[in-house]
């Protein structure tokens, strides 16, 4: 107990030394509320005051000129029944009416006794809880272990426990009770969560004028994937994440509020990623300099180098107000990733481990041997074709008895993931640290040997001087991974006939058909190293003026090797062995000076930010490929190649901008924010480099109005906000405003250099105009929080590689296109807390996004190269083809709409827009329950997409299997079947394949995640000095309700997302 006392003493001494240096400058008669705002802005101290104890409208007199904060407060509270306590960076204001009364009574101290105890919430001890003894006016705080000691009277005492984000509790301590073990109930709602904004600014959701949403560590932790973005899937309104494959570490497609550009380059459609303030290149390096062979592989996700367990939050910035500060590059939205930092308190060592078991949850039902052979025979019979051993090896030379289910034979293993993390964090009021590292290994359902391994290390350090004027933060992370997964083509196994043998009788690969397992004879190895570092320095020049410099450097390096030995190719074509080695680096340097100014005038609070950004990034890659190897044994030796090709590539990109942001808050009720910026990009030619962007955001906190406050109708919070502004896009690639001469790939005598493009010196910034309107409401003390958001983004002056007739020598030229793409939509989010007490808590979370994408205008679309890609008034993701009209019941032939009316179905006259291939809506439903030490989280996701590509049925003319659905085919006249008569006619089936017959409804409702966790009670682990111990089990992708007949409505015919079970423990000491 003595130790505890000392500890308390130390903290308070520390606190007061820090405080003594905090000076304040202000003269006037502010209300308390205003005074607190001034203090927060000038000193950075947070003020905690319970509004039902403290009258914030009370007017006080302040005459402070370089006065100590303590002095100012003492003076201000002179005539008020208030006292204060300063701990760390927090000032707690206490209602103190009895103090004055008691003062007169003098301290008739009786026997000095103490009450001691511990305060916890469900997760463990709580620090800095204020304990106030009503009976003797003593105040104390809990320490980092949640413990406190407080003087008591000689009678029954009443203690009041309060802390921000918790429900206040008052308890009576009988005379004979000395110890207290108390639990406080968390009442924090989403509205109290802090949103991280651009350039490190933070704002509470209550005052935010922009549209941002995000997820916190608690959710990211529940998704045991390498790529942290997967955790956001269907959880964030407005954010669409398409997973393309169930293979580990594969890049996802990310869209914020729809596609903004007609440019079909995926890179141009990506949002901007910012990790700890530094732009992060999320374009897979494997596309840089990779040759055709490796290009077929889906890109690796660079984000997998950021360990999800080190992420504190991921914020998605959507509207003009939130993204304008990234101006130029914010047109497609911004995703901000913030990593965890150390916290004041004793050192905490955390150790986490989990193990996942994953398998394919749904198989696609394919024809068995009997059905397959029947299909082949029936097709030949329908077409009157004679069965010959040459044309029909599957009916003659292949086994008629073998019946393989290839999916089960090759994709039914269990994939394992091992993930271990260790971190140490802690700090004092001057210095905080977080050091951590982790290791992860993941393999696939078809290959135990090869997998993805990631090792990472991170250190985040924060320092501030004793006077609090100077702060420094350093973040550095390093990750290295190796991925040697061979991405087998799942689709090829689906179409493989069930009576085929992949091996010949003597055990060699059978090449009667292209052998899909031959790929396993190849080697693919990607090694990535990724360093992200950031140093942020700030200095308080004046009490209300802070200058800040943020510098960052990131470097990603990829070493890629692909070996294609002769034995992996069909010997009939005598393809010699080849290989490819790529070495690619991308490095980014970022420099951001800033000036931050605060001013409070009466009830007005102003905030101004003036800053600049300089960004230099450079990609460099070299690809060496060898071909024509004499023998497979030499396949790794580039010198042994018959032909060696070397490709070098470099891209440099520079970006420069200056910006100003001014915010004005009046009476905590009206908020207005304006941003202007001027951006320069090296991607544009002289005279066109700069663009001006701006935004305006406003919010009205209706619930702060008296008339609403006084009418107690259950509305605890209401806000209306809106924003409008311009953001830009320069995603057009580098160097294209001048003619690029480059080394010719077609050798002729000596080195040849040829012009590789046409130049257009005049293209300019693409401009996206964003409108955002929203209402945020809290009901019943914020137990119900509803947010409804409407947006309308119009993107014009589109930057595209415009298609040209090759008569000009080239296929395209970069230019601005006077087309306008509109994305408009609604986003809903509803969070409720139906039950919240100490024993049982139930919270729900519902989000839904509806986006309508539309091409508003496009001059001369029909005469443009996009005439068969886009249509006015329709979304950009269109499916074109023949319109399937079902079968003709008399002859079983597929019928298509003859649009041109010329009696025949032909391209492109009869090609038409079938339907947009985008979800109509999507979202998620989350429920989390807490009962004592148990937590249960259930998260469902849903998506409506009526037009997804299903397995292409190519008829029965070739040795390709088909899904069982084709059994419902036409067999006799008059039959109304779903599928046409089996046929070998490739022309008929080619029209069929190009029609909407192969597009099906892929809407789904999926149990995405279910996590049950158990916290071991503190009394058991305290003895072994453990702070926390939690064990959990997660099931991901547990079941899917869908009409889609394939393996996964998300990935279509590619490798499905796996059903994953995870067991893990989290512990901290």
């Amino acid at each position: 107990m003595n130790r505890l006392k000392n500890l308390l003493l130390v903290t308070s001494v520390l606190a007061s030394t820090t405080l003594s240096a905090q000076q304040l400058n202000y003269q006037g008669k502010p209300s308390l509320k205003e005074l607190f705002t001034i203090i927060r802005q000038q000193t950075g101290y947070n003020i905690i005051a319970s509004s039902n104890q403290v009258d914030l409208n009370a007017i006080v007199t302040v005459k402070a000129k370089d006065k100590m904060l303590r002095e100012v407060l003492e003076e201000a509270f002179q005539n008020l029944p208030l006292s204060f306590k300063i701990v760390g960076k927090e000032i707690t204001i206490l209602h103190d009416d009895r103090t004055k009364e008691n003062k007169t009574k003098k301290q008739k101290t009786v026997q000095q006794l103490f009450i001691n105890g511990i305060v916890r919430d469900k997760l463990g001890p709580i620090e800095l809880v204020t304990i106030y003894n009503k009976n003797n006016d003593k105040v104390t705080f809990t320490d980092s272990k949640g413990m406190f000691t407080i003087e008591r009277t000689d009678n029954t005492d009443t203690l009041i426990f309060s802390s921000l984000g918790y429900k206040e509790r008052e308890i009576y301590i009988p005379i004979n009770q000395q110890k207290v073990d108390l639990q406080l109930l968390q009442v924090q709602t989403v509205l109290d969560e802090v949103s991280v904004l651009s350039y490190g600014q933070q704002v509470s959701k209550r005052l935010n004028t922009g549209s941002t949403s995000g997820v916190t560590a608690a959710i990211i932790e529940k998704t045991p994937t390498a790529d942290p973005l997967i955790a956001l899937q269907n959880r964030v309104p407005g954010l669409l994440i398409n997973t393309l494959s169930g293979l580990p570490g594969i890049q996802t497609q990310v869209q914020i509020r729809g596609i903004n550009t007609v440019n079909q380059d995926g890179q141009a459609r990506q949002p901007l990623f910012i990790v700890d303030g530094i732009p992060f290149n999320n374009n897979s390096l494997s596309h840089i300099g990779a040759n055709n062979l490796t290009k077929s592989i889906l890109g690796e996700s660079p984000l997998k180098s950021i360990d999800p367990s080190t992420i504190a939050s991921i914020e998605v910035l959507k509207d003009a107000d939130a993204t304008a500060i990234y101006g130029a590059r914010g047109a497609n939205g911004v995703i901000l990733i913030t990593t965890k930092r150390g916290k004041v308190g004793r050192a905490t060592l955390s150790a986490d481990y989990y193990h996942s078991f994953a398998s394919i949850g749904r198989h696609m039902k394919m024809l068995n041997t009997a059905q397959y052979l029947e299909m082949r025979r029936e097709a030949a019979k329908n077409d009157g074709i004679e069965l010959t051993p040459e044309a029909y090896p599957d009916l003659f030379s292949w086994s008629q008895a073998e019946d393989h289910n290839w999916q089960k034979e090759y994709f039914s293993n269990i994939a394992h993931t091992y993930n271990a993390e260790l971190s140490l964090s802690g700090g004092s009021s001057r210095f905080n640290y977080m050091l951590g590292g982790g290791f992860r290994r993941e393999n696939t359902v078809y290959d135990k040997k090869n997998g993805l391994s990631i090792g990472n290390f991170r250190s985040n350090l924060d320092y501030n001087t004793a006077d609090g004027k100077f702060t420094a933060s350093l973040s550095a992370s390093y990750a290295t991974d190796k991925n040697d997964i061979i991405p087998l083509s799942f689709n090829n196994f689906l179409t493989l006939p069930p009576n085929y043998s992949l091996y010949t009788a003597n055990g060699e690969l059978n090449w009667g058909l292209e052998n899909p397992i031959a790929q396993l004879e190849q080697t693919i190895e990607n090694k990535t190293k990724n360093m992200v570092s950031n140093l942020s320095l700030s200095y308080r020049l004046l009490p209300n003026l802070v200058t800040k410099i943020n510098t960052g450097y990131t470097r990603m390096h990829m070493d890629q090797m692909a070996l294609h030995p002769r034995r992996s190719f069909n010997p009939a074509y005598s393809t010699p062995g080849s290989n490819s080695f790529t070495d690619a680096t991308t490095a980014t340097f970022n420099f951001e000076p800033q000036l931050d100014y605060d001013l409070v005038l009466g009830r007005n609070a102003f905030h101004a930010l003036l800053g600049g950004t300089y960004n230099n990034s450079e990609n460099e890659s070299i690809n060496k490929s060898g071909a024509d190897y004499l023998d497979d044994s030499m396949i790794e030796d580039i010198n042994a190649a018959g032909r060696i090709d070397i490709l070098q590539d470099q891209r440099q990109y520079r970006f420069l901008s200056g910006f100003a942001r001014i915010g004005w808050t009046f009476d905590q009720k009206y908020v207005l924010n304006g941003t202007i910026r001027r951006d320069g990009s090296s991607r544009f030619g002289p005279g066109n480099k700069y663009g001006n962007f701006w935004s305006l955001g406003a919010a009205w906190i209706v619930s702060e109005e008296k008339w609403l406050k006084e009418n107690n109708i259950g509305i605890s919070f209401a806000k209306l906000r809106g924003s409008y502004g311009l953001t830009g896009n320069d995603n057009i690639g580098d160097y294209s405003y001048f003619v690029n001469y480059a080394r010719s790939l077609e050798n002729y005598l000596d080195q040849g250099f040829l012009p590789t493009n046409l130049f257009n010196a005049n293209y300019q910034w693409e401009v996206n105009k964003k409108l955002d309107l929203a209402a945020e409401m809290g009901f019943l003390k914020d137990r119900i929080v509803l947010e409804v958001n409407y947006y309308r983004n119009r993107s014009g002056n589109q930057l595209v590689g415009y298609g040209l007739p090759t008569q000009v020598g080239y296929n395209s030229v970069n230019q601005n296109l006077d087309a306008i793409v509109q994305n408009s939509g609604w986003e809903f989010s509803l969070q409720t807390t139906p039950i919240n007490n100490l024993v049982f808590t139930w919270k729900t979370n519902f989000t839904m996004s509806i986006n309508r994408n539309k091409l508003l205008s496009f001059p001369d679309l029909s005469g443009s190269p996009y005439s068969l890609t886009y249509q006015l008034g329709k979304p950009l993701s269109l499916t074109w083809g023949y319109k399937y009209l079902g079968i003709n019941p008399t002859d079983g032939q597929p019928q298509f709409e003859d649009i041109s009316g010329d009696g025949q179905i032909s391209f492109p006259d009869d090609y038409t827009v079938l339907a947009p291939n985008i979800p109509t809506f999507f979202g998620g439903i989350g429920n989390s329950f807490n009962y004592k030490n148990f937590d249960l989280d259930i998260f469902f996701s849903f998506k409506k997409n009526k037009n997804a590509y299903f397995f292409p049925f190519s008829g029965a003319g070739s040795t390709m299997n088909a899904p069982v659905t084709v059994l419902d085919r036409w067999q006799q006249a008059g039959q109304d079947a779903k599928f046409p008569a089996y046929t070998t006619n490739s022309m008929v089936m080619s029209n069929y394949s190009s029609s909407n017959a192969n597009y099906v409804d892929a809407s789904y409702l999926r149990l995405n995640n279910m996590t049950l966790s158990y916290r071991v009670p503190h009394k058991f682990i305290e003895k072994i000095k453990m702070k926390n111990l939690r064990a959990y089990a997660t099931g991901a992708n547990l079941f899917t309700l869908t009409k889609f007949k394939g393996t996964d409505p998300e990935t279509g015919i590619d490798m499905p997302m796996l059903r994953t079970f995870t067991l893990g423990i989290r512990s901290s000491f």
Partner: protein, 459 residues
């Protein structure tokens, strides 16, 4: 306050500095990519574009020869048809959107695009010598002419694009072939004046004589007989450079050397990194095509004593069909890898001159044909045969001498207006008169609304 002001200055100064040096900070330094100014700064660098130009053109290599062999009467599909496109060519099942023939349009116009950029680059150059400029310009004009020659012969009227100003050039109507020929003749005349009269190292870049050789052929198409005669004569007169190559002898003491690299018969060949042999390409897929051997076929066209039958074609025993044997190196052991694809050679100049002289009424026009017949071990044709027969003899000679070479047969049939007559006899079931022209690629029509499709094809 004064102190505060100082702080403010200290804070703002870096920002101010930043803004003044903005443009410097946005400068980028491309690597492995060079500007027009850099490339045309000296002769050597500018000359490297010539090599890239040839490299681009060379991507067509044997493909055009093979395709037009199928569409004319030289080839039929073989038993193992690996390349479906050749069957489409053979049966005239060409479609304009995914057409097998679209690549020729693209390659020819890509070469022309580079040539146009060269012309403009040279015009801007300050560092090149006059000799260097002449050479680069001459090569650009030669290649532009050669590729327009192919374009109009494959597609008919085509847009005539002579600059890289895409804003002006992208929407352009088709030009009458006569206008395009005027440009070709002009380019070739310019080129013959600009280009050197010697080869530098190998015979893989056009010189003055190559420009004249092509001009003599083009003038047959434009019926400028005198120019054709004079151009061919000028080439033939360069005896220190050009002499006919030899054919195999029965006793095996001599081996055909016509297609060997830098042979004296060659006026222009395409350089080939001898790692991959030309023969290897044609032979590697020998089972996918066969020389026509029916009564109207090429094989029957060889006179019985014509040595060229065994020199230019060969029976492939495994398939019992004949293949192209002009290029023999196939990468197999013992086979010398010493051939380059021929683009222009002396034999054709004799045939060009013979035809021009015949049209000009020259009494001994057929003499030039007899030079080739003599080498082939055939008897001479009399000077006194009627003009009509003489022309037939020249065309026959052209067919057997220049078989499988750069669409010569296909172009000749169309030039003389006998394509319908010959092809409807050779392929009575499938021949369509409109097939004389390939379809215009759909994407080209989409991107240039003034283009229209050739008759017989639907977009």
């Amino acid at each position: 306050m004064k102190k505060n002001f100082k702080y403010l200055i200290a804070g703002i100064l870096p920002l101010a500095l930043l803004s003044t040096s903005c443009n410097k900070l946005l400068e980028v330094t491309p690597k492995y990519i060079y500007t027009t100014k850099q490339i045309y700064d000296n002769d050597l660098l500018a000359d490297s574009v010539v090599l890239a130009l040839y490299g681009k053109f060379a991507t067509m290599q044997n493909d055009l020869s093979l395709s037009t062999g199928f569409s004319s009467d030289e080839f039929r599909p073989g038993i193992n048809n690996f390349n479906e496109g050749y069957t489409f060519m053979y049966n005239y099942n060409l479609n304009p959107f995914s057409g097998f023939t679209n690549s020729y349009w693209e390659t020819c116009y890509s070469v022309i695009g580079i040539a146009n950029a060269m012309e403009e680059g040279v015009a801007q150059s300050t560092g090149m010598t006059q000799a260097g400029k002449n050479e680069v310009l001459g090569q650009a004009k030669f290649m532009r002419a050669l590729n327009y020659y192919f374009l109009i012969n494959l597609y008919g009227d085509v847009p005539l694009v002579l600059t890289s100003n895409y804003k002006e050039e992208r929407i352009k109507p088709r030009m009458a072939t006569s206008t395009v020929y005027d440009q070709i003749v002009k380019d070739l005349e310019d080129a013959s004046a600009l280009l050197r009269d010697q080869y530098q190292r190998e015979r893989v870049r056009a010189n003055k004589w190559a420009a004249l050789a092509l001009l003599s052929r083009v003038c047959l198409f434009t019926k400028e007989w005198e120019k054709a005669e004079q151009s061919a004569s000028q080439v033939i007169a360069q005896q220190h450079l050009y002499r006919l190559g030899q054919l195999d002898t029965q006793d095996g003491t001599k081996v055909m050397d016509i297609f060997v690299k830098n042979n004296s018969e060659q006026i222009l060949q395409l350089w080939n990194s001898l790692g991959s042999s030309i023969g290897g390409y044609t032979l590697g897929t020998f089972t996918s095509f066969a020389v026509t051997e029916d009564e109207n076929g090429l094989l029957q066209a060889f006179e019985s004593d014509d040595k060229r039958k065994d020199n230019y074609t060969k029976l492939e025993e495994s398939t019992t069909s004949y293949m192209n044997y002009k290029y023999r190196s196939n990468g197999e052991d013992g086979m010398p890898n010493n051939e380059y694809t021929s683009v222009l050679r002396l034999s054709e100049q004799y045939l060009n001159r013979a035809e021009a002289r015949l049209q000009l009424g020259h009494p001994s026009a057929i003499e030039d044909v007899n030079i080739l017949r003599k080498r082939a071990g055939l008897t001479a044709i009399s000077n006194s045969i009627p003009k009509e027969q003489a022309l037939k003899a020249i065309i026959h000679e052209r067919r057997v001498e220049l078989c499988f070479e750069w669409a010569d047969r296909w172009c000749t049939l169309k030039r003389l207006g006998i394509a319908d007559a010959v092809m409807s006899k050779a392929k009575p079931d499938t021949w369509k008169s409109y097939a004389q022209l390939f379809p215009i690629p759909t994407t080209e029509i989409q991107n240039n609304r003034l283009l229209n499709q050739n008759p017989g094809y639907t977009n």
